[in-house]
Symmetry: C2
Subunit: 152 residues, 2 copies
DNA sequence: CGGCATCCGAGTAGATACTG
DNA sequence: CAGTATCTACTCGGATGCCG
């Protein structure tokens, strides 16, 4: 089940784009061919994505509000991710010297720019969800059949 | 250093979009709020991304060609990733009963659709690479300063 | 309240050797 | 050629406890 059709023309165009993007650099270095990796490795794990999405949903969140929303994350991992995201400039951490202390997190403009890309990706994922799931069950089905055959 | 400016208006629009996308579902379930996770968790690791990009670059690749191009990947991980990507419908595996056996991998139309998203993301990452790196060094710098202060 | 330090268990990656 | 099998090493996430 393939929802959309992609013409050969488009494929060629994409290949050419890739060539322009990566053709001139040393293909031996995966870091170079994939800037996505060093730039986004830090922000593309599931927790970071959820954090950014929730900070797009609510303009400002405190640590425990984030923890409550990003359901299932541990203190350690949350504080790790927040530190990384802050370090790469996706969000800003503001501490108010009150008693008890109040700490607020909100997206920077850069974070909002990333958020927009995330939303596009999420929309794509949502659109193609059924496609993936149907492929997956089909494939697992055939795997099980294979295993059955192997057992015989 | 923030390259682009995002207006408050845009931010509100994005928040509304998120509300439309996720507002009606149970925020307690991260799987629901982030279809990206169950759909793409399988295809968004660094090796899978590289595999898809190389299969966009070369229309067809064999196992050892992929291994050579996706530099640094082990047999085990490559065959794992290929199986997963095939299972979710990103690529097609064709085996020719020759001697020695020949196996070819190429993207499906669905894989090409994903490739286009990947390229957009890569372009974004490339554009904002310097931004992230400058933030990162700035931040690490201030961390080191903190550590110095702590040592005093 | 908002974290950080520590420990532990599970899963994952990688290297190497081997097979149809 | 295209993988599988096996073992080791290491990272990651979760739980807990402590501190300002």
């Amino acid at each position: 089940m393939e929802i959309e059709t992609i013409t050969d023309n488009q494929k060629v165009k994409v290949a050419r784009k890739l060539k322009n993007m990566f053709g001139h650099i040393n293909l031996k270095d995966p870091t170079l061919i994939c800037p996505i990796r060093d730039v986004m490795a830090l922000a593309s794990d599931k927790w970071s994505i959820l954090i950014v999405l929730y900070l797009g949903y609510f303009p400002v969140l405190r640590f425990n509000e984030l923890k409550k929303n990003v359901y299932g994350i541990s203190n350690k991992v949350l504080s790790e991710r927040l530190k990384h995201l802050e370090g790469d400039g996706y969000l800003k951490r503001t501490m108010y010297a009150e008693m008890p202390v109040r700490v607020e997190y909100k997206l920077t403009n850069f974070g909002h720019s990333y958020l927009q890309k995330l939303i596009e990706l999420t929309e794509w994922a949502q659109t193609h969800k059924d496609c993936v799931i149907s492929n997956r069950t089909k494939f697992h089905g055939s795997l099980e059949n294979q295993e059955l055959e192997n057992q015989l």
